[in-house]
């Protein structure tokens, strides 16, 4: 188990170093950092001096090592666009994205699990067919289209909910939360629903597939034969055995949700990390782009590694080298 643990951690570290290399190459070679930082009146001597001070004359390896060391210490440099520390910018924006992703995840579980159970248990019923159709439509609707349609319906036509911004926020330490004010909660509704559409269908399809498998198991037949009420068999005995993969999926999808939040944030003008990134892309603000790439990848890799380790801990067969090397998904 320890060997497996070390191997997985080494693997994750390798991936992060590769991502860092990518971020560094983007940072260093697309657009000259010196040209981005100095103003028009800077003399040639100023530029040479800045180039030396930034260490841009050192060898590639030295620069890359320094980039990695700085990054590990949370130093992503200074934004080209507004001359602020990138880490401060991200710290400011992180709570907004996190709350959005959190609420979207909760919605996906609260809606997705019951829908999955219903479609599996009452397979031929009209409700199940409607839910099934809804799930394939949900997979096919781009999240920005969902967002736009929600705005058209609930903000423009009905005027019930705000279409942009975060509403009022309350600061708790450095964390600013919109969950504690009515306007903050109202502003969160539409973005969270539109971000969760895809996730809901994913959870629902997974629960359905798992339930169909579990319902054939002997212990379910036995429970039925023993006279356990159907509802209890379905919602307690069967569902419990389906929850592990759902937890895994939810964990692994959080990275994807954070990335996809940038689309939702653009639609709803939500002041999160994703908006920061998209603005950075338009202004070629490379330190911000590199930092966002690193942070999202880090969350992604850490969650995946945790899931792998948990699985190996639960199921010793997976500690085998061969099983983890290729076949994590087909």
């Amino acid at each position: 188990m320890i060997a497996f643990l070390l191997k997985r951690i080494a693997n994750a570290a390798f991936v992060m170093l590769a991502v860092a290399l990518l971020a560094f190459v983007i940072f260093r070679f697309f657009g000259d950092p010196v040209e981005m930082m100095v103003n028009e009146q800077a003399t040639l001597a100023d530029r040479v001096e800045l180039r030396e001070r930034l260490g841009l004359n050192d060898s590639f390896i030295t620069q890359y090592t320094r980039f990695v060391t700085d990054t590990v210490q949370g130093d992503f440099g200074i934004s080209y666009r507004n001359q602020q520390d990138v880490m401060v910018l991200i710290k400011e924006r992180f709570p907004a994205t996190f709350e959005l992703v959190l609420v979207a995840t909760v919605i996906s579980l609260v809606v997705g699990i019951p829908a999955g159970v219903i479609t599996a248990v009452y397979r031929e019923s009209r409700l199940a067919n409607i839910l099934q159709l809804g799930s394939i439509i949900g997979v096919s609707l781009p999240s920005f289209v969902v967002g736009i349609l929600l705005i058209l319906a609930f903000s423009v036509s009905l005027g019930w909910l705000p279409a942009f911004g975060r509403g009022e926020t309350v600061d708790i330490g450095w964390w600013s939360t919109g969950l504690l004010t009515p306007s903050g909660r109202a502003a969160l509704m539409l973005p969270a629903i539109s971000l969760s559409t895809f996730q809901v269908t994913l959870v629902m399809r997974l629960v359905r597939a798992e339930m169909l498998e579990t319902l054939r198991a002997d212990y379910i037949k036995f429970a039925r034969a023993r006279g356990v009420p159907a509802a209890r068999v379905h919602w307690r005995h069967a569902l419990r055995n389906c929850l592990m993969p759902v937890i895994t999926l939810t964990g692994m999808q959080i990275g994807n949700l954070i990335a996809f939040a940038l689309v939702t944030e653009t639609v709803f003008q939500w002041p999160g990390m994703g908006m920061l990134f998209i603005q950075a892309v338009t202004f070629v603000d490379i330190p911000v782009m590199a930092a966002y790439l690193m942070i999202v990848s880090l969350i992604f890799v850490v969650l995946n590694t945790l899931v792998d380790i948990t699985y190996a801990w639960v199921d010793p067969r997976l500690r085998d080298d061969t099983a983890s090397a290729g076949g994590s998904n087909g």
Partner: protein
Amino acid sequence: METPPALTLTPVRKARLSRIRESDLWFSFRSHPSAIFAVVVLLFVTATAVCAPFITPQNPYDLASLELWNSEIPPIWAADGQWPFLLGTDTQGRDILSAVLYGSRISLIIGFASVILALGVGLALGLMAGYFGGWVDNVIMRIGDVLLSMPFILIAILITAIASASLPTGLKDVLAAPILIFAIAVPSWVQYARTVRASAMVEARKEYVQAAKLIRVKAWRIMLHHILPNCMTPIMVAATLNFGLAILSEATLSFLGVGMPSDQPSLGTLIRIGNQYLFSGLWWIVVFPSIQLCLIVLSVNMIGDWLRDALNPKLR
């Protein structure tokens, strides 16, 4: 013994046709109304997109055909709708139906091309990794691991952003479509490579491959003629589902403003433009491109879902 070739040819052809008509796949297709519906919709959308220049009242790219007094006309069924603008016009007098059909063309082409590119690269690298093993396998699969450890959409955005930042302004718009195709293909080849690699590893150890190696059949020939046909089923399903994903990704990138420019708009670009008029009551500018995009992706996904079930031996 001599038989005229015409006599042998016709039965073969007939057999082929009836082989399709009597196959399980065709039977499954006929008994799934949703699959038939999806194919009909997709064929209709593709046909109207291909024939767009012949059926649309105007060329939305041609600025000379736009008349400003035709701007902001609502759809034909509204009180002040006007012929021939069936779905209304935008603020510059551009016919929405024409724009949607031309936009679908671009979306379909980019989606299709990126799937083909990813398929080609993924199959080639996957076969090599599985067949040769060793360091070739290691390098290819490590690159794949790194790509999969970043969210799909993020890689695509970064590639388009870097490409447009480093290209001169003149070339940027010309190369927008190839850049998008490349940006969507880069994160998606890994899936094909992994699938093919797994079967190639199994097949490469089998006796017939060993025998072929022994009589010095060339490596690429073994890979293409013996190993590849054995793993086409999962690849076809993945490719169909990825076609839908590719169209979605293209639309998302264009919506975010890093995809197709507004003078050659794809569906995503049209939605981005329409999004600016969301609060001014001009709902038709954004709604119709959205509906078209959803229809395309929905039908592709329905075909993919049906194909996955139909080809899955466990479900028969």
